[in-house]
Amino acid sequence: MNTLDQLSRILSRSQTIAVVGLSAEWHRPSFFASKYMQDHSYRIVPVNPRYAKTGTDVLGEHCYADLADIPFAVDMVDVFRRSEDVLPIARQAIAMGARCLWQQIGVVNEEADQLVRQAGMDSVMNRCVKIEHGRLFGGLNLVGVSTGIISAKRRLTKA
């Protein structure tokens, strides 16, 4: 389990997020989450062979077929794939020097989690990057979700 402090630190120091399995269909959760993060000043790097093949941009960004194809550094690898497919993605994330592997809600690969932790990276499992951002920095509370935030300090509005 990640603490509030850990999640806050991960989201604050990440700027570039490679989203593995990002869909170009606007009503898919991966598109929702990535559009949200883009709206909150993160750079989204789509990774999906389906769109890379045809040279289709997603969310206005060039889409890569594979993490290894990305020619620049990314801070976080955000995974919208089945749990059993995460391990090779984790290995690539380590190899490319990412600082965090984030497995989305419903994605739980303990081995990948162990692996990236041993490599000194941050690891988050079974959480949504958008929901956690909205919980910590405001927004999620606007739809009545219990954020668990009890504080007498103003909410930070930016990661």
Binding site: P29, L142, G144, I150, S151, A152
Partner: protein
């Protein structure tokens, strides 16, 4: 910011409200505005697509109302809350989010009269049938389940029957049939009982009662646990693209708060029973003292119940906090203890020697106990349900709802107990004078 498990007393004051980001205001600002500006056309599109969190129009969401939603969700131990204009609106919203024509509900017979009418008359008009069963018999719920049953509805503590729902047992029945248990938790308030912890899936409240506590303001809140598997095949409206909200799949997109989001976008937004920001603010002023008030309501009601039980002018008393209540064990199991005894809330019922006429004389003779149709006020309130709150029901429906012809319902307030007992005593004297 450190992780910590906060107690209900702290949540009642803090949950849902950190100091205002814009101004630093410590108390909750009242965002009395119908609408909110968009930063750009793209921002507007993201908001309408639900891709970003934010406010559009106060019928959908409002920051002051959201503070109440989160506070009650936190107090109930739930995932998300949704406020509305009254308790009835919240109940309607919980049911209408998942029900459609041809569906069936299994409901406790002992319900608030307005709830019985909603199910038996109003939802029936839309092709939704309800079977009412004995709320004290989990087996009766099981026996009434049909292939088209889509919800089980009951009150944690029946008003005014004061029957207690075995929440875990009835939740098991509902879940065995793949449907959610929706519990009206108005009478205990979230301080005394948390139905979600016993397996209920959705809780509804009339916030007009103990949550507000001051009897000034109407409101309702619905809370979801976030644990019901809406993709079990019985709730296509939760899993299929929404025709009412441009193809959003609510469960896939919002997961453990998908039910609340669908309720917000497909029921609150469409039918419009939203809570005003000013009302939300007023209710929250009361919620901050919920725990202190509930302890006093419980201790006063226990003393009133004992006083009535010992009084020869009274023919019967029903109070779940008395050891002779038939479900006292369940009360001990499900409700918070107050001063070492089960906190059974402030509601009790009794009959006076001389029946209905004596009861009416008692009510009219009260000096400061108020004769009105509400509960959960700081003031002591009294009423004759058979001729008022349950008047729309047929006599046999009244009996099913636990309303005896001679029943006087009392919502014991937090005035000094000696004064309450004094007023009861002098009114009993007038009531039983022949």
């Amino acid at each position: 910011m450190a992780d910590h498990q906060f107690q209900p007393e702290t949540l009642a004051i803090h949950a849902g409200q950190v100091p205002d980001a814009a101004t630093g205001a410590r108390a909750l600002p009242i965002y009395q505005t119908s609408s909110f500006v968009f930063d750009s056309a793209d921002h507007a599109a993201s908001l309408f697509n639900l891709q970003t969190f934010g406010n559009v129009y106060s019928r959908l969401s409002n920051p002051t109302v959201a503070a109440l939603e989160e506070r009650v969700a936190a107090l109930e131990g739930g995932r998300a809350g949704l406020a509305s204009a009254s308790g009835m609106a919240s109940e309607a919203m919980a049911l209408m989010t998942i029900l459609q024509q041809g569906d069936h509900v299994v409901a406790a017979g002992a319900l608030y009269g307005g709830s019985v009418t909603m199910l038996a008359v109003n939802l029936k008009r839309f092709g939704i049938d309800t079977t009412f069963v004995d709320a004290t018999e989990p087996a009766a719920f099981a026996a009434a389940m049909q292939p088209n049953t889509r919800a089980v509805f009951a009150e944690s503590l029946g008003n005014p029957s004061l029957t207690v729902l075995d929440i875990a047992a009835v939740a098991d029945v509902a879940h065995a049939h793949g449907v959610p248990l929706i519990v009206d938790n108005t009478v205990p308030s979230p301080f005394l009982c948390n139905p979600l912890r016993f397996g209920a899936d959705v809780v509804v409240h009339s916030a007009t009662k103990y949550l507000g506590g001051h009897g000034t303001t109407l409101g309702g809140v619905m809370v979801e646990a976030g644990t019901f598997p809406w993709d079990n095949g019985k709730f296509p409206g939760m899993t299929e693209p929404s025709p009412g909200y441009h193809g959003v799949k609510f469960y896939e997109t919002f997961g453990d708060f998908g039910f609340s989001m669908r309720a917000r976008m497909e029921v609150l937004r469409v039918y419009g029973a939203c809570l005003s920001p000013f009302s939300a603010w007023q209710i929250l002023q009361g919620t901050e003292s919920l725990h202190v008030r509930m302890e006093r309501h419980c201790s006063n009601a226990r003393k009133v119940a004992q006083f009535l039980k010992d009084d020869a002018r009274v023919s019967w008393v029903s109070y779940p906090g008395l050891p002779d209540h038939p479900q006292y064990d369940l009360v001990q199991r499900q409700m918070r203890s107050v001063d070492g005894l089960p906190g059974a809330s402030g509601l009790l019922a009794f009959g006076i020697q001389g029946g209905l006429e004596a009861g009416v004389r008692f009510i009219e003779a009260a000096q400061f106990m108020s004769h009105l149709a509400n509960i959960g006020d700081t003031r002591t309130l009294i009423i004759h349900p058979a001729s008022t709150t349950h008047r729309q029901l047929e006599p046999e429906q009244q009996i099913k709802a636990g309303v005896m012809p001679d029943m006087v319902r009392m919502s014991v307030g937090i005035e000094h107990i000696d004064d309450i007992l004094w007023d009861i005593d002098q009114a009993l004297r007038a009531g039983t004078r022949s």
